[in-house]
Structure formats: C-alpha cells, structure tokens
C-alpha cells in the first residue's frame, strides 16, 4: 500500500467518485473536513454510500473523530460494517488505540460482521511519538499515519520543504513500523497545486523509510504511487540479482559477485522485496522466471 487518499465525508460529488482514482485506499473523513454541525449528515451519507454504491474503492478507511470528542461513539455506531477495512484514529495514544480495539471488537460481535476491522492510528502528538513503538505493536494496528500539521503546531516548529523539522518523527515512526512489520504512512503535503514540491516531499519521507503517503487531493495520488513504487532500474536490478542467485545456489555458492559487486544475503533479501512490491503494483512486466 502506497497511497491513502483523503475524501471529505460530506461532499457527495467527491464521495461518489472516490473509487475512480488509483489510490490504494481511500480515507473518508468525518473529522477536520466536516463542520461540527454536519457530522450527522456526513455519517449518514457515508453509510448509505457504502451500502449502496455499486463501485467502492479497493480499500475503505474512515477517519472518525477523536475519542475525546462527542462524535466518536456515534461515528463508530454509524460506520462499523463489512464495507470498512480500517478506522483511522486521530490523536491516537496507546490507551485510545487499545480502547478503539475493544470498541471495534464489541461492535463486530454485536453486528456479527464477517471481518475484523483494522486500525490506523494518527501519530500527531508529541506524547504519541514517544510511545509510537507501543502503538505500532498494539493489536489491529496495520499502519501508522504521521500527522505533521498538529505535531508541528504542538512543537512550535515550522515545517519546511527541505523537511528538517520532520526528520525525527518520520524516522521514529518509520523504525517503529518496520520493527512491527506495518505500513508507515507519511503526512500529506498541503500545497495541492505544487507538483514538484510534492515529489520532493515524497522523497523526503521515502528516504527515511516511510512506505506510503496520504494525499489530500486526487491529483497527488499519481506522484505518490510513483514515488513509493520501486523504480524501473531497481526492478531490473532486482531481477538480475534473483536470477544470479538461482544460478549461484544451483552451483552451491552462498555468496557470489554480480557486475563486480559482492552479493550477499541482505542484498538478495532487498532484491526479493523489491520484486515482490513490483509484482503487487503490476510493475514487474512480463515474468521471465
């Protein structure tokens, strides 16, 4: 999963077309993009959309309102259903993430759902960043979404295009996610008109080990998918390594050289991962294995 597209939950035009963009998942939003007087309207719209629209996004996430708001409970009540894959939890901490897990369990039991809804906590508080490893290890958590806007506000620091301010939180989250085998979703880039800056921001995240990025406008999705997919030269290289490894192991060799470089186990592992990703996103081309 590379791209998570935010769609305002109370906008019928955007909701009904949410599935046409190449995002790996769509996050329908009940939080910031929905006015406090319209939470009921948005919940109802999303619920009826999810149960009756003939074409839904590949994966459906709902960003509910934070646990300390009066909307949290009603959001879950309205939207926990078989059509949902993830709940995105704002201002998540270990405690709220665990609590959401048990609330989800209770609703799934009560509604006899056929599925187990996963959680994507948003890490946007300094306190959450401190305990992000524990959040990442919490049951049902399959990804962590970094929220830079709130984080920077709390830290009283300024987000710049070069990304120095986000160096630590991105690294911290990326490592916590990797250690727990889950997806590290980078914070969205807020200037939707600036394609070049978006690319730079994508690379800033990817460089530190983030594996996906949220989009706040459909036009950002293409660039995000590209930035977080293996590049063609990497895919070609990975194919070569895997092929050479097969030949080497048939000759009983553990370590071998390719184009003058020693290839050992970590390198082979990396090549395999690249190929697996490429296949997942239909980028591997004709299989020549």
């Amino acid at each position: 999963m590379r791209s998570f597209l935010f769609v305002p939950g109370n906008n019928p035009s955007m909701v009904q077309n949410a599935d046409v963009f190449p995002a790996d998942a769509v996050i329908f939003d009940l939080e910031d993009s929905v006015h406090v007087a319209e939470k009921d309207n948005a919940r109802r719209l999303l619920r009826d959309y999810l149960t009756s629209h003939p074409s839904l996004p590949q994966k459906v996430a709902i960003r509910i309102n934070a646990m300390d708001t009066p909307y949290y409970k009603a959001d879950l009540e309205a939207l926990v259903a078989d059509e949902i894959d993830y709940i995105v939890l704002p201002k998540a901490t270990v405690t709220t993430t665990q609590k959401l897990g048990s609330d989800l369990f209770a609703l799934e039991q009560k509604r006899e759902l056929n599925k187990h809804i996963d959680i994507i906590p948003i890490v946007e508080l300094a306190a959450s960043l401190v305990e992000v490893c524990k959040i990442a290890a919490t049951s049902r958590v399959v990804a962590i979404l970094f929220g830079a806007e709130d984080y920077c506000a709390e830290m009283e620091i300024k987000r710049t295009l070069a990304g120095e301010a986000l160096f630590f939180p991105r690294s911290q989250i990326a490592v916590a996610c990797r250690a727990n085998g889950i997806i590290a979703i980078d914070t969205p880039f807020t200037d939707v008109a600036d394609d070049e800056a978006l690319l730079k921001d994508c690379h800033n995240g990817a460089l530190l080990g983030m594996t996906a990025k949220a989009a706040i406008h459909p036009r950002q999705v293409g660039a995000i998918n590209e930035a977080y997919s293996p590049a063609q030269d990497q895919i070609d290289w990975a194919k070569k390594v895997v092929k050479a490894e097969k030949e080497a192991s048939s000759k009983g060799l553990g370590v071998f050289s390719l184009d003058g470089k020693m290839i050992d186990k970590p390198v082979i592992e990396r090549a395999r991962k690249t190929l697996a990703k490429a296949k997942q996103y239909n980028l591997a081309g004709q299989d020549d294995e």
Binding site: S55, P218, G222
Partner: protein, 502 residues
C-alpha cells in the same frame, strides 16, 4: 425520408450516406467574385448600409473571430431593425450569447439562419420553434464547402476586421481589437457578392494581411468593432476538476500506449479544460521522451503557443485564436500559420489540414452505442453548440478520441441513441471516461494493441450499464414532431434533424 443512420430528414434534401461518400463526388466551385475596381471607404456604417441597398430575403454573412466581444453583428442587426428589412437569411459562422438577434427572429426580419455553432438566447429562441424558416448547421469545413459551391450564396458579407490599410487589405493581427487569424471568413471574402470590411483601425500600410483588397467593396470605419477581451472565451484553462484531470491522464496514457506520440506527429484538442489537460499531459510525455511533433492545429490557445515555444511542435496551423496569447504569437511567430476554414476542414480541398492529423481530442454531450456523437443539443433537446470542427477533425484524424465524464450531475453521457447526431460513429475511435475506455469495435487494430495494458478497456454497452447502475436509468424523453433545423454533414448531406423543445 431516412438517411443511412436511420434519422428522419426533410424530404427534398440529400441524405447522409457515409463519412467517405464525398470521395465519389467532384468538387463544385462557383467563380470567385469579380475583383472590384475601387474600394470605397466610409466613416459610418449606416451610410454604407444604405448604399448596399439590402433587400428583403437577402443572405448576410459574418464571422465570429471576435467571439463574445463582437460588435459588428450587433451593429448590423440594429440597422436591419431600423430599416425594417424582412425575411433575411443570416449566415454567421457562429452565434454567441452576446449576439442580439432574438427580436429580429421573433418579428420575422430574420427568416432563416445558417451557422456552425450557437448557444445562448438565440439558440433558445430557435429551439423553442420561433424561427419562421429553418436553422441549418454546418461544420467549419462544410461551411467553406457550401460557400464555394454556391449552396450558401452570400449577398453581403460584413467582415469585422481589426486593421485595414489604405488599399483595403485587412488583417486580424493588428489594431486595438486584434483577434489573430480570420480563417472562417476567407470563403465569405472570396465568394460573397459584396464584401464590407468593418474596422476601427485604419493604417497606411500593413506588413501582412489575410484579406486581399481585390475582393473588398467597402471599408467602414466605426468607433469600435468590439472588445478584444471578449475573444478570451473563458474555456481556455486547464481543468482543476479531479475527474477531468483523471480523464486527461488516462487519455494521455491511451495515446502513449497506441504509439501515437512520436517525432513528427500532429494533434488537435479543443479549448475546454479537460482537452487542455490532455495537451498538458501529452506535452509532458513529449518533453521526457524528447519528441518534437510536426504541428498542432485548430482553434489555438496560449497553451499550444507555449508548446510551440518549448519546441514541442514545429508549427501551429491556426484557423482561430482563442486567447490573446495566441493573437500575439500569430503576429510575431512565423511558425504560427493562419489557415482558412476551407484549408482546415473542407473535404474537397486537395489536402485539408484535418487529414494530416494523427490525433484529435474532442468532447461530447451524448454518445450512443454506435459511437455517434452529439455536441449540438443536450439531453433535453436544447441547442448547446454544434459541430464547429468536430465532424471535420473526427473524420480527418487517424485517431479521434472523445473525452467526457460518464455522468455530470446525474445526466448520463451514453445513450442507446443520441438525441442529435453531429458526428457519425464511424469516425470516432475511442471514448475515455473516468470509469473506463470504450474502443470502437471497428478499430480491432487498436483493441489488439491495447491488450495487456493496465488501461480499463470496456465495451461501450458495459460502460452504459455501469453508468445506469451508478446513476439510474433515465426516462426516455420523446422528441416533438416539429423540426426547427437540420444538421448538415461536411459533404453537404443531411445527417440529422433538430426538433423543437417540448
């Protein structure tokens, strides 16, 4: 009587047979108008109008290069009203919402109208059945054909002309209301019985001109021919709508997969936001792959001027400037070349520009299961435009692609039958929507080439079915049985009838 597409047309007209039927015909040419000995200069339109001795029933023509900023047609319309001339046949190349003709139609001073495109109040008046005679709608190339063959015989052509010299030569490139090329008016100039250039800028000498004085009978200086700002039609920006951008991306990808984008290729797009987004996406592919196209054509926008500037195309063939950036480029860049409507799309020209097009991107109000396209009326029967160059380019270009949203505010794109056929489905190769791409089954070669791509190729029936599942099945709206006009195909045959709105 029905034509080959099963459309009922009026009894004594030539029915549409096929898009290629013209190949069996010979070009018909009336003699060009005799060149007048002297050009007479006037400093007011009314005196010129009186001297022209315009009679009831005559045919008057105009061009629409000043688009929404045109004053000339409105000034002549006031004189028609003042001198109580009746039963006129008006033949402007297009009619915009600002053109004040409705009163003249309602009191029968204008009986018949021939044009290529119309919207706004005049369109509403005509669709409502208020025109006493008939509306005949041409394509841009078809209008040139009709004029040169004498099918559309013009008594007086009132041609707005931004700059005129002492000899009577006229240009659109100069003057305070410069509008760029004057391509639509060249046939009027050569074949109208009387030609009047109406200008607000008289100069001693012009360095280049499109209207040669030998065809000109009168030059009239008026305070203002219009407002050059009005030629910017408001449709010349890249769309910001995410669905439009998605369609544009997929279209560019389709074109790339089909191997069209290569050195020496040529293209045309409309001036709509989605069309420009396609041009933008294709331009990016050209830049990364270091490709130079031979030419882009059509109504030219600033966007194509930029592409020319970046060296992405060698030439622009321009029949109409859509914005002031295009006007400026036409004036200063020799690679920005003016062409007449005839050279652009007349099927009987030896080598019209449209025939050299590799790719055209077009819009649609409705498309049917036979790929017929309607850009003349909407789903309710209101007249919303017309062919312009739609049918000309769709026929000429090797690849004609329609881009449109599948449903806009629940109004569906795909119908089992379109309300009005503007362009026959045999000339349409692909329809790109946000939810899938339909390829005309008569293009098996394209389908073959697209196998194994990640593009979502669907049969048009599947696409219609999907549209119905998403938005519901619309009620069929019966047509009234009162014809108000006809759509003429570029070869002079009648392709469809326009009916009065309900």
């Amino acid at each position: 009587m029905n034509n080959s597409l099963g459309r009922e047309i009026f009894a004594n007209s030539r029915p549409f047979v096929s898009a290629n039927a013209f190949l069996k015909e010979k070009r018909r040419l009336i003699p060009e108008k005799p060149t007048s000995a002297t050009v007479r200069f006037y400093d007011d339109l009314e005196t010129a109008f009186r001297d022209l001795a315009i009679k009831d029933g005559m045919t008057l023509s105009f061009h629409h290069h000043l688009r929404s900023g045109d004053n000339v047609l409105n000034m002549v319309a006031s004189l028609i009203a003042k001198y109580a001339i009746k039963d006129l046949h008006l033949a402007p190349s297009s009619i915009f919402p600002e053109y004040k003709l409705s009163d003249l139609i309602l009191n029968h001073q204008i009986r018949n109208i021939t044009t290529n495109y119309l919207n706004g109040p005049v369109a509403k008046t005509i669709a409502g059945g208020q025109l006493q005679g008939t509306l005949l709608m041409h394509t841009h190339g078809g209008r040139a054909r009709a004029i040169e063959s004498g099918d559309l015989a013009i008594d007086v052509a009132f041609l707005a002309c931004p700059a005129v010299d002492r000899q009577g030569n006229g240009s659109g490139a100069f003057g305070i209301n410069a509008c760029g090329t004057l391509g639509y008016a060249e046939s009027d100039l050569k074949y109208a019985k009387k030609v009047v250039l109406v200008t607000d800028t008289l100069v001693d000498e012009l360095s280049m001109w499109q209207f040669d004085h030998k065809y000109v009978d009168m030059v009239v200086k008026v305070p203002s021919i219009g407002d050059a700002g009005g030629i910017v039609s408001g449709t010349t920006r890249i769309t910001r709508d995410p669905i439009g951008l998605k369609i544009a991306q997929d279209t560019a990808e389709l074109v790339r997969e089909l191997g069209v984008i290569k050195n020496g290729f040529s293209m045309q797009t409309g001036a709509g936001g989605t069309s420009l987004a396609v041009a933008d996406a294709i331009g990016k592919i050209m830049q990364t792959q270091n490709i130079t196209g031979a030419f882009a054509s059509g109504g030219i926008t600033g966007y194509f001027v930029e592409m020319l500037g970046k060296g992405l195309f060698q030439k622009l063939y321009d029949v109409q400037c859509f914005d002031l950036a295009a006007v400026e480029s036409f004036r200063t860049n020799p690679a920005h070349i003016a062409i007449s409507a005839s050279k652009y799309g007349n099927p009987f020209e030896t080598s019209p520009v449209v025939d050299d097009l590799d790719l055209v991107i077009l819009g649609a109000a409705e498309v049917d299961l036979s790929f017929n396209v309607n850009v003349t009326t909407d789903s309710f029967g209101n007249i919303i435009g017309g062919s312009g160059g739609h049918a000309d380019t769709a026929h000429g270009a090797k690849l004609a692609i329609i881009t449109s949203t599948l449903a806009k505010a629940r109004i569906p794109l795909i119908k089992s039958e379109v309300r009005t056929i503007t362009t026959p489905g045999s000339d349409i190769d692909a329809i790109v929507t946000e939810r899938g791409i339909a390829i005309n089954p008569n293009r098996g070669d394209l389908l073959e080439r697209l196998k194994g791509t990640s593009l979502k190729i669907m049969r048009i029936e599947e696409l219609m079915d999907l549209q119905h599942r998403l938005g519901g099945i619309p009620k069929e709206l019966p047509k009234t049985n009162a014809a108000v006009g006809y759509v003429e195909y570029r070869d002079g045959t009648i392709i469809d009838t326009i009916y009065r709105t309900g």
